[in-house]
């Protein structure tokens, strides 16, 4: 359990997946990927196994949110595990068509 800081980069302890925190509520939360707690990117970790119940995978460039939209992460590296917070899987954010700005 730890405070999720906006802008922080986390990596999976069981697959290649990495995410960046785009938005997070205050308070301690447990962010998991593939069923195991995610760790700060760059830290050494002994790779475990992806929990088959949390194996939907994350795709680079996709954003994942909790139900009430208070937490959002951006996948920055593909992974086989699915992301969850306090055991509740995050959902892939609907990609609205963005207006062209350039």
């Amino acid at each position: 359990m730890a405070e999720l800081k906006t802008g922080a980069r986390l990596k999976s302890a069981v697959c290649d997946g990495e995410v960046m925190i785009v938005l997070a509520p205050a308070g301690d939360l447990e962010e998991t990927c593939g069923g195991a707690a995610m760790v700060a990117a760059g830290s050494a970790v002994e790779k475990g196994q992806v929990d088959p119940d949390h194996a939907v995978g994350i795709r680079i460039g996709k954003r994942y949110v909790n139900e009430d939209g208070t937490l959002e992460v951006l996948c920055v590296k593909n992974g086989d595990g699915g992301v969850a917070v306090n055991g509740v899987p995050l959902l892939q954010k609907d990609t609205k068509k963005l207006p062209k700005t350039d």
Binding site: G7, I60, G61, V76, L98, T101, D102
Partner: protein, 498 residues
Amino acid sequence: MNIMMLLEMTSATFPDRTAFTDGSSGRSYTYSQLFEAAATRAGSMAASGARRVGMLDVSSLATPLTLFASAWAGVPYAPLNYRLTDPEIEALLERIKPAYLVTSDEREPAMSVHKDVITSATTHFLTDAQHSARITGEWSMDPEEIAVLLFTSGTTGAPKAAVLRHKHLVSYILSSVEFASADEAEAALVCVPPYHIAGIAAILSSVYSGRHVVQLPNFTAETWIDLARKHEITTAFVVPTMLARVVDALEGQKTAGMPHLASLSYGGGKMPLSIIERAMRLFPDTDFTNAYGLTETSSTIAVLGPDDHRAAAGSDSDSIRQRLVSVGKALPGVEIEIRDDEGMLVAAGERGEIYVRGEQVSGEYEGRGSVTNSEGWFPTRDAGRMDEEGYLFLEGRADDVIVRGGENISPGEIEDVLLDHAAVRDAAVVGIPDEQWGEGIAAAVVFKPGQSAPIEELQTWIKDRMRSSRVPQVIRICDELPYNETGKLLRRVVKQTF
């Protein structure tokens, strides 16, 4: 958060895709080459001990390389306007020292004599063998770190350095660009200079979408048209003045002959109705987008999209046709309001100052802190009005900066030079509507008793001392300038005399 992460993601996804092509040299970087080159240049920057990374050159492959490498090294990137006079550049260099400065081969010898400025000539900077050591370690993910410092033209003389942190730029990109959304055949033609926020936004947007950028360092309508055809450009951004030139150069032709150009966006100044209407006839199959934004808001905050353009152009109603000169509606994640001098909201359609709020809005200047209010609203100093459907119309600057061809010009700096002339007692410079430049420059001059000078002499006087864009196209001689009771010049009144 770090803008380097945007490049890392695309480099991992499309390593062999062409990222940037210098339209003048023809040299290119793929995404993975750009990423690897950034690692070693970041090493050089970090080893230099610099506090800022300066850039003083036209666009080239060194532009995105310097932007990303400085982000990796954790040293703010401060591109300087290469069109400034030597004394102006010196003054800015003083403010970014100790600096690592990437500058043109021609300028490098003169710049290298400055104390606390480590120079790298562009050719040298782009030579891999000169930068052998990769930076050790990852870039910072602290969202509060400064990514970019952009010098704006202030009204009060010395330029202000707008502070854009990684969180502002990354928020802008995440809310406006879909990752890896560009097709391999897409190519953007970028002709805005490195020191303009639109130049930085174009690099970041294109990189995150995985699009190929073709750079045009020195804009002329002819080279723009040539490059657009040669590289089968699919998307381009121009300031209104550039579009006017392109439209003029294509005069007499039935269509522009650029079948690949799917979208053309413009911004950075007021677009005359006649120009956009002519452009839409020349590019009948092209989607037009008007993007409105400021340096302090990490670029675009409102857009008038292609559907709006077509609806307005095809309308019989004058009020709907007028939407062609609107800058459209606020982007998702951005709020826009119009307020009066007391900061109170005005009714739809009424003129006031444009306020903006959102994650991408910085509103901060180096050494002055943030000018956003307690609720996060940034007063843009742009005047405007918003109609009942939320379409925003610009009405010039709330202060009196003249926006000529996308370039902000302070009247005060021109007035100061006029006042240096032996025959001039008083001077007021204002912006006047100009078909080609959006705004042109006019001056009202009062001579000292018993003295005078020909108008041409005054124009030459300015031309010899400032950049040519500062020379008033109209100078009117008058007996007295209008002041209010507290001695403040009434520019509005001066403006009405032209």
